[in-house]
């Protein structure tokens, strides 16, 4: 029996481009879809790599995701989570946002056969060594281990300050307060700022148990959890729909004050189903003694505590424009370190200046006297003469006409930029035609004008 089941959550919509056919998981970074990077993280640790992999996705993206994944040399199982509400595609986004992780997990719960579960969301980008986290999970017999990452203030390249492209939207990430015991790496409480008024309360009974704790505000959740199935059992049977925002803080609190986790199950009806579940699982599995142990009612494993591990390496979640740009900048190095494959553009073309930190996809057609620096360009892009492209991300099939200057912008697929445009700090959504001689600075051009207020804020709901 394997130790872990890896559940990769690949739901969520891509709001960068209004082209709904691309799910967020397939959003290209350095011309590789985002999910590729998550898969690399999983593959980097042997005990996760050899575990059964469940990929959760919604029905509409199933096919496209399957098409991509089948090209990779991995074994996986695609699970389509139930769409609770059938409605028009416009509304769907919102409803999916409301669908919490626990709701989604409930639909695939019967597929989990292992003692522990590794839960990853597919927007994790970067290189992380999971050994310490997994070892901690094993050694301390933890109920839950989570990866916390330092809040990254977007690095400034040289003396340029990073300007967020597109319409000015404040990305005020809700601060979270992690109270941790640094000597044991134990998390004793998680508080979301949204739940608090003016004060952060410290409970006396938790203080008494963990007298010396540090309240970290500089950490964010990487959405990578290792969790015991016995804990998830409770979560599945509780009424909560969100794992991270609702269930997790409560679970940690219960563990910190030594209260049984069963209290989180809301109704007695659900408690009885828990026993029934035991028997059905028994039928599925021959390994009877193990299951009995696992389901021993006053479960010691549940009280294994909750631990965290921080990673100093650059790892972050791709969840808004800035992090998307940052991810693109780092993509080539990261891919190099994973696969020893240098994807930066090496060809030397006459009369074209392309710096060595660029990535340019296949089928390119680059005109003369063009300068390209710190830019990622997707497949089949056509760039005409005398263009200047600095610090941009161009997705597939973009057509940039003559004499265009692009700076610090994102151009989504199948867009056309008219000649002699000057575009700075902007986002052009897919299938857009920008007329010649336009000057854009800090704008977002999309099919439906000013349709969505928040761009690239993926559903943070985990």
């Amino acid at each position: 029996m394997k130790e872990f089941t890896v559940i990769l959550y690949a739901g969520g919509n891509n709001r960068l481009s209004t082209d709904l056919s691309i799910p967020k998981a397939l959003l290209p970074i350095g011309n590789r879809p985002l999910i590729w990077f998550s898969l690399q993280i999983i593959q980097s640790h042997p005990s996760l790599a050899s575990s059964p992999l469940l990929i959760l996705t919604s029905g509409q993206y199933r096919q496209i995701l399957d098409d991509y994944l089948s090209t990779l040399n991995i074994t996986y199982e695609l699970i389509v989570y139930r769409q609770h509400h059938e409605s028009t595609s416009d509304d769907q986004q919102q409803i999916q946002d409301e669908l919490g992780t626990l709701d989604i997990l409930r639909s695939c719960y019967s597929r989990i056969r292992t003692e522990s579960i590794c839960l990853i969301s597919c927007d994790l980008f970067g290189k992380v060594n999971l050994t310490s986290l997994i070892n901690m999970f094993r050694v301390r017999d933890a109920s839950l281990s989570m990866l916390l990452i330092k809040t990254i203030i977007p690095s400034t390249t040289g003396k340029e300050t990073i300007i967020q492209p597109g319409q000015k939207i404040k990305f005020t990430t809700e601060p979270e307060f992690y109270t941790v015991d640094q000597s044991t790496n134990r998390v004793t409480s998680i508080r979301l700022k949204a739940d608090l008024d003016e004060y952060l309360p410290l409970r006396q009974n938790i203080l008494a148990k963990y007298p010396r704790t540090i309240i970290r505000t500089d950490l964010v959740d990487a959405h990578l959890y290792l969790i015991k199935k016995s804990c998830l059992d409770i979560a599945i049977r509780s009424d909560y729909s969100s794992f991270r925002k609702e269930f997790l803080p409560k679970m940690i609190r219960q563990m910190a004050i030594d209260q049984p986790l069963e209290d989180l199950i809301s109704t007695p009806a659900n408690r009885t189903t828990m026993i029934r579940q035991q028997t059905t699982d028994l039928d599925d599995n021959a390994d009877l003694s193990r299951l009995l142990e696992e389901y021993d009612c006053d479960n010691q494993e549940i009280r294994g505590g909750c631990y965290y591990s921080t990673d100093e390496t650059q790892i972050f979640r791709v969840k808004h424009v800035l992090s998307y740009l940052e991810a693109n900048r780092q993509a080539s190095l990261l891919i190099l370190s994973y696969t020893n494959e240098d994807i930066t553009f090496k060809e030397r073309l006459e009369q074209i200046q392309i710096s060595s930190d660029c990535v340019i996809g296949d089928g390119h057609d680059i005109g003369k006297k063009t300068t390209i620096r710190r830019t990622i360009i997707g497949k089949n892009c056509r760039i005409e003469d005398k263009c200047k492209i600095i610090n941009c991300v161009l997705l597939d099939n973009v057509h940039v006409k003559e004499g265009v200057t692009l700076q610090n912008s994102i151009i989504c697929s199948r867009s056309t930029i008219g000649s002699k445009c000057e575009i700075q700090n902007s986002i052009i959504c897919s299938n857009q035609q920008i007329e010649g001689n336009s000057k854009l600075n800090g704008e977002t051009i999309s099919a439906i004008n000013h349709e969505s207020e928040v761009y690239m804020v993926y559903d943070d709901e985990q």
């Binding site: 004060y199 952060l200 410290l202 006396q204 148990k209 007298p211 010396r212 309240i215």
Partner: protein, 820 residues
Amino acid sequence: MVKPTNINSDYREEERLTCVLVLDTFNNYTNEIVSHTSLPLCLWPVDGRPLLDYTIHTLIRSGIQEIILLATSYSYEIRSYIMNSHWLQTYPKLIRFIPCKEARSLGDCLKDLEQENIINNHFILLYGNGTLITNEKLNNLFNIHKENIKKDKNCIMTLVYRQLDSNHFEHPSYTDDQHLCIIRDANTYRLYDYSTEYLDRYEISLDLLEKPNVTIETLYCPLDCHVAVCSPDVLHLFKDNFDYSTINEFVKGIVRDEEIAGHTIYSYLYETGYFLSVHNLRLYMKATFDILRRWSYPLVPEIIASMHKQQLSTITNPTLPQIKLNDSYLSFYNICYPIIYDKHNIYKQGDIQLDRLSNIQQDVFIGYKSQILSGVCLRSSLIGQSCIIGKNTKIENSIIWNHVQIGENCIIKNSIICDNVVIRNNVQIDKECILCKNVIIGTNVHLNQHMTIIASNSITSTNVVDEIEIDEDISAPLKNVKRSNSKQRSSSTMSSEKSVSEKSISLSIEETITSNSDLVGIDGFGRQLSFISTHDDQTKPIEHTDDDDDDINDNDKSQLNAFDAWGYRIEPIENRDLSHDDEDNEIKPKQYRLSNLKKPSDQPSDIQSEDENSEIDDSEDPSSETGSINETNDVSEFQQEVIRTLERAYRQKLHMENIIVELNMLKPTYDVSPTEFDRSIVRAVFLLPFEKKISNSETTNYWNSLKLTMDQITQFILKNYMKITNEQSQISLLNGLDSICLKHIQPIGERIVNILNYLYENDVIDEQWILQWYENKQKKIENNELIIKPEEKIYYDKLKQFVEWLQNAESEDDDQDDED
């Protein structure tokens, strides 16, 4: 500020490392017990030497160059000990002694020190009892403090703590009075918040958490070393702010006023090393046993004894004749006997008589010339000098001072037995008893735990000392400077002492000798020491009333008495009763005490009887309705408490949140049900102006004073508890108001229109509930369930008037709506 200097410049030659010891716990319980032992706590014996010696050894090891002793009520004893000890001979310039006989708090002591004007540099302050035992070298703290100042020039104090393990509540070094919650920066160790209160939850302001470069660390109940490294400014601050009487208040004040005054406080946490600040009896015992078990090495008895011997031998002092003390209790310290250290931590001091059949197990100290007879079993105990332990007696975890006689077949556990106590045969003493000087315990007596037995005719030595101080005040500072005169001086002290002792004898004759033979046996002598609040059924001891006659002192007491001499938290109810004693007249508290003893009945009483009860409280005539008191005492007591709280809130203009927290805290204390709680709140709000003479002379009528209180505080209280959307609480609010009005038609009932109108205007009550409630009431009246007495008619008329107005107003509103 920081000059480029070499490393050693931190210790400039003229900069002496100074340590200030405040030798008083300022705990009345402890001091009361101490007064019956004739030795201040800092001179209590610990393994052959007084406690203070261990501290001075610690400080000398740390390289402290100047020790300043601040002594309060026991300055005479402490000085005569210091004068006669070898310290002054070996380190003539080390110790300076400042008597602060008037000091009632740490703040007073430091104000006195400030006036002496001798502190120009950073100094270590040992508060608590000034008796710290540690094997760490404290001189490092100066560097830490200076580092803090380098980083932050506003730093004026560095507090020192020792980390405990997570099960610190069970840690023997932890006593309730050290309860502490610290919020500090994890990197700079700057203190941001500090609370000694015992709360269910503590709060950190989010602003603090979101400050850049601040990582908050919480420290809950670290071991408080009672050590603070202070800048000289601290003394000025204590002088300028009279309300800082303890370090707690000081720290709170500094942290709170940080933005105004700009001072900051840092903390330092030791993670290793032995630390114990002895400031209550439990820690005194722990210190004794820890030293026996050699945790404090190198501060262990035989090493200290040998050091003393060396020092004494090196001094050839024909010029300094040994002062003869008539105080036998101090003189024994000056004779130094060699201590033999045996395996299992058994220490034998000089010449002892140990029977072959005795069983000395481990961690035992046996003092000079003590006799241990056959069959005696000793374990973890200190036996002083010239004691006799009778046959087959068993002593565990106990401290026995000098000249104690213990009979046969006794069992003594976890107790302190002071000088000259006689314990006859077959006595059993349970844990945490203390037998003060000259007590005799009769045959076959069994003492339960937590008893303090005093010999009743021994007068409190505090009185004596105070008188001595008056005699000697002028000579005191001179003594420190000119020691050559010491002989002459001491003769004067002797004479004065003699005169005082004569006084004391005369006093003791006057005092009636009361020995509680039920407690100590027919052949025993002594009675239980009782405090005002610890034992309900006993009256105040006379000494107390004599001592405490001014208000300031009373205030001090109510603060300090939160913990007893053993460091246990005293139950808040008793504490509150104590404050009643101080504030109110004598009759009410007695009623409460009575009611404390009786169990409250389970069922909540109806309003009517409660009313009567409160009326009885007012009229102070409990004879007629004793039954109802029994039933409702808890509730009515609670209500009185609520009224008092609100009154205080009104008078002191307290903050609304604090009041609500306070009220919520009262709920579990008095064990009232939620409905009773609500009812009491309502009643308290409306009875407050009625019972307490809130109003000044101009606004004597009920309505005006009610309005005053309502405006300021009580309407918010009502809003908090009786949510306008909650039908049940609204109706119960109205019912409560109704019953009060019916009870007090004259001042309250006739004002119903004003009251309801006020509540309605201020959104305390919604009109729909008023109408609904009135409707129900009308129905009851129609069905003759409710009979209107003639005198109540005015109330109902007024009520009707208001309701009609309300209905009209409502319909007008509706009309307006329609028009719109």
